[in-house]
């Protein structure tokens, strides 16, 4: 044991004469390794995010002429259902009446459609609870009813009852003409 210590200490002094060179190699290797790990971690994480072609397919155009008043057409957009609903005057009246109710996710009916286009309601058709597709016209508010866990939406797509935390999402869209919209 004493031999080992005696043998080790002169060694330590020899290397102690020039500690910087060895330290530099240790630190440089450590930094390079950390750099490689860090630099590769992000590409390997980010590769799972939506790819370029997935993002490129992200917008669609839709002709509103297909939707009769009082009905809804379901279009596939970004892999999800999109509700395009042509509301009746009565449904719009009920939606506006709902503005004053005690809402879980407060929003006026006006904020959920484009100005002057109250009849057209365009919503992402996935329940904000766990992503099921609510059924048209169901529930006591005449909007939508989610069969999975019983969320009830009104004719403005606002959550009124059940476990869902938010209103049905309004996607980014714009009117290209009176009868044509571009979603996404």
């Amino acid at each position: 044991m004493a031999d080992t210590v005696a043998g080790a200490s002169p060694d330590h002094h020899v290397s102690g004469d020039d500690p910087n060179r060895r330290d530099f190699i240790h630190i440089a290797t450590g930094v390079a390794a950390a750099g490689i790990v860090g630099g590769l971690a992000w590409p390997f994480i980010d590769q799972m995010n939506p790819a370029g072609d997935t993002l490129a397919l992200a917008s669609i155009e839709f002709d509103l002429g297909k939707v009769v008043e009082g009905q809804q057409v379901v279009v596939k957009w970004r892999g999800k259902p999109l509700f395009v609903r042509n509301r009746t005057a009565k449904e719009i009246q009920e939606a506006i009446k709902g503005d004053g109710a005690d809402l879980r996710d407060p929003a006026t009916d006006e904020s959920r459609h484009k100005a002057g286009k109250a009849q057209w309601l365009i919503l992402v058709g996935t329940c904000t609870h766990l992503g099921c597709v609510p059924t048209f016209g169901g529930g006591e508010y005449g909007g939508w009813f989610c069969p999975c866990h019983g969320s009830v939406y009104d004719t403005s797509g606002r959550i009124r009852k059940g476990p869902a935390p938010k209103n049905l999402e309004v996607p980014d869209y714009s009117f290209l003409s009176d009868t044509k919209v571009k979603v996404g």
Partner: protein
Amino acid sequence: MSGHSTYEPKSGLEKWLDSRLPILRFTNDTIITFPTPKNLNYWWTFGGILALMLGIQIVSGIVLAMHYVPHVDMAFNSVQRIKRDVNFGWLIQGMHANGASMFFLAVYVHIFRNLYYGSYKAPREVLWLLGCVIYLLMIGTAFFGYVLPWGQMSFHGAVVITNLIGALPVVGHSITTWLWGGFAVDDPTLNRFFSLHYLLPFMIAGVVALHIWALHVPGNNNPTGVNVTSASDTVPFHPYYTVKDGFAISVFLILYATFVFYLPDALGDAANYIKANPLVTPQHIVPEWYLLPFYAILRAVPNKLMGVIAMGGAIASIFVLPWLDTSKVRSMRYRPTMRLYYFIFVLDCIVLGFCGAHSPDDPVFPISVSLQLLDANLNSFVWLSRIAALFYFVYFWVITPLMGLTETPLPVPETISSPVLSHPAATPAGAAASPEKRG
């Protein structure tokens, strides 16, 4: 691994190999001479059954991957093609799909045996934690695998489960998009789930190796829960437990074969024979039976985020059990009061599974009398699951710590042999070690 090897290389080749790669010594010490408590009952055979099930799932899965196509347009048809056109595809697919259920059945027996005999207690906490990790990996593998046939239940199950992560504040939405690789469950999602479904079983195999390593350090627990004190408490693993495990495996395989050959779809959902349609959700979404208790806990909580936390907490409670249990007595044979709570807990898990399979608002009892309390109908599965979920947590966090401090256990035998030897017709202790010499 037990530290005292009895292996003696006989031939020159064995000696040569032993000094280079002592693999025969390792095999001998692990599964031939490994000293095993002599009183293990049939509840201890499920470890071997689980190892077999993992092997069956890996082999049948590798074969299925040769015929399966992970693409949204072709996945559903490729699974149907395996069942109808691929030679013996019906058999291999049936073995794999029902094998998952059998795997979970065996793991639940294995876990509940642990709970009853206190096998998770010191010095086996790491063994227990590794087992919990295996169980988590199994849940992940089963979930990814269930998505692959791309039926209605596959698709909407994937939608619901990935949306659970969306309940997390701030980052939830970005994480779901990252998991999906798009804006919904779609082709990129199916592809990565296939990749992960192929990967995870090999990770399970790796953790199983650690699990067995951790088992062989303290050795097996046993029905009395008392430590092995001398060689007379043990018998060599072979032939005693190779034969006992072999017999149990044979019986288990009969049950497995009954499902594969006579009831191949009994444990599945009919909705999964409809190709996935993102625009229509099935009326009633349920996971496979082995995840129903956790699904019931999720739905018992009216708030989305809190429901996810409760479900995570239900699994986390299993992990920390060794540190919740204050009792020094391992086996519930000597804990009559705790044993009663244990059986209620087993029943509770079954009730939770039952709740998970039913619509939350369905009545539990078919009676017309409504059990209305304010605006809640107590005669509904959602209320039954609330009560059952509450007991689930109370068992882990209140009953388990308190019982260890307050109960009076029955007298525990000093050694494994003493309950046997107190019997007048018992053979001398030395005789127990000799019969294996004949084999």
